[in-house]
Amino acid sequence: MEDGWHVVAADRDSDALDALARSSPGSAPLSTEVMDVTDRCAVAAVLDRIGTLDLLVNNAGIAGKRCAIGTISEVEFRDVLRVNLLGIFIASQEAVRRMGSGGAIVNIASASYLVSPNVPHYGMTKGAVVGLTRSMALEFRRRGISVNAVGPGAIDTTMQSALSDEQRAHLARIYSDGPMPPAVIAAAVRYLASPEGRRARGQMLLVDEGTSLGIDLW
């Protein structure tokens, strides 16, 4: 919003949207839409109401159940796949149909696209997002639409509330000040949405304070 974007925040959680609206200045160019990203009709209706679309940030994601490979039910795995993967497919397809040349798509993946022994199903979907991002970037390159991904490390969101005390202590140790604030990821998105950042195509921008480089081994 600081860069002059009119932001439309969409979530299936209306309470979260209300909280976001309350926490924003009254003059902020922000509107909210209750929407399930896996519902194509709902996504299309929201995008029709928006009209001109310059940037899509695919941010919806759920962690799913923490369990070993081969032990999750298909229903539970499908829930994670639908939100983390099908949602990106639907939203991107509907957005590109309404987007002119020069638009941008930023997919929020995760640093766990590299390896995720604790949340394998979540990690699989994030690995998929990276492949999807590359394919979309190649396909939309000639239309002048950039497609990139951001790979956050631990971010201070409600997803962290499911962590055990031991896991929180680990994050406090490997990050300079515990899980990073969401504004860190917003800044990465801001760059990829900028005229300069749109020259990047099909890239994964890891924002994890270098934890993927093995900092926890120190």
């Binding site: 993967l85 099908l86 696209y113 492949g131 999807l132």
Partner: protein, 186 residues
């Protein structure tokens, strides 16, 4: 050490014929035997993506389900089964495609292959001393040659006999992945 004793082998998966072709050569290279019951020294999992080009904007939800979501769910099941078949110190070998590098008009396969790579990397960390490595072949059948299957079998033999190789993506594509747009340092 490879060749010091017979290694048992099991092939499961998509049934694309690619893993079977590699396994057929594997039994020629070393003393591999395909037996009916585990635990197996090497379990090969065929996770080869279907080669079908569809423009992103023309993909239906059914296309995405068939080419991405269903194979990803199937892969998760197969790997769970492979872990049980391989036993506590066995070796898993995923046989997949280079779609994850980013193929235009193959977005669902790029996603499915990306999930396979991620899982292949994670398995060794999840369940040590189980090892998991990946053979990556071209998604387009026309780009696969008999020589690639021979090389795939040699590499499969090497990783099956190793106690330390884990999480490797082994490209068998005549260096196609070194095309500048595919170079991936991770």
């Amino acid at each position: 050490m490879v060749g010091a004793r017979s290694l048992s082998l099991k092939v499961i998966g998509n049934g694309s014929g690619v893993a079977e072709a590699i396994a057929g050569r594997l039994t020629d290279i070393h003393d591999f035997v395909e037996t009916g019951h585990g635990p197996f020294d090497l379990v090969m999992i065929d996770a080869v993506d279907e080669a079908r080009s569809i423009r992103f904007l023309d993909l239906s939800d059914e296309n995405f389900e068939r080419l991405c979501l269903a194979p990803t769910i199937r892969l998760e099941r197969m790997v769970g089964m492979a872990r049980r078949l391989a036993g506590p110190s066995g070796s898993l070998l995923l046989v997949g495609t280079d779609a994850f590098l980013g193929k235009p008009e193959s977005a669902p396969q790029a996603a499915a292959a990306g999930s396979m790579i991620q899982l292949g990397r994670s398995l060794g960390r999840m369940h040590p001393p189980v090892r998991c490595n990946m053979l990556i072949l071209p998604i387009e059948p026309a780009r696969r040659s008999p020589g690639m299957f021979d090389d795939a079998a040699r590499l499969a033999s090497a990783v099956a006999g190793s106690e330390t190789l884990c999480g490797l993506r082994l490209f068998i594509d005549g260096a196609a992945h070194l095309d500048s747009r595919y170079v991936d340092h991770r």
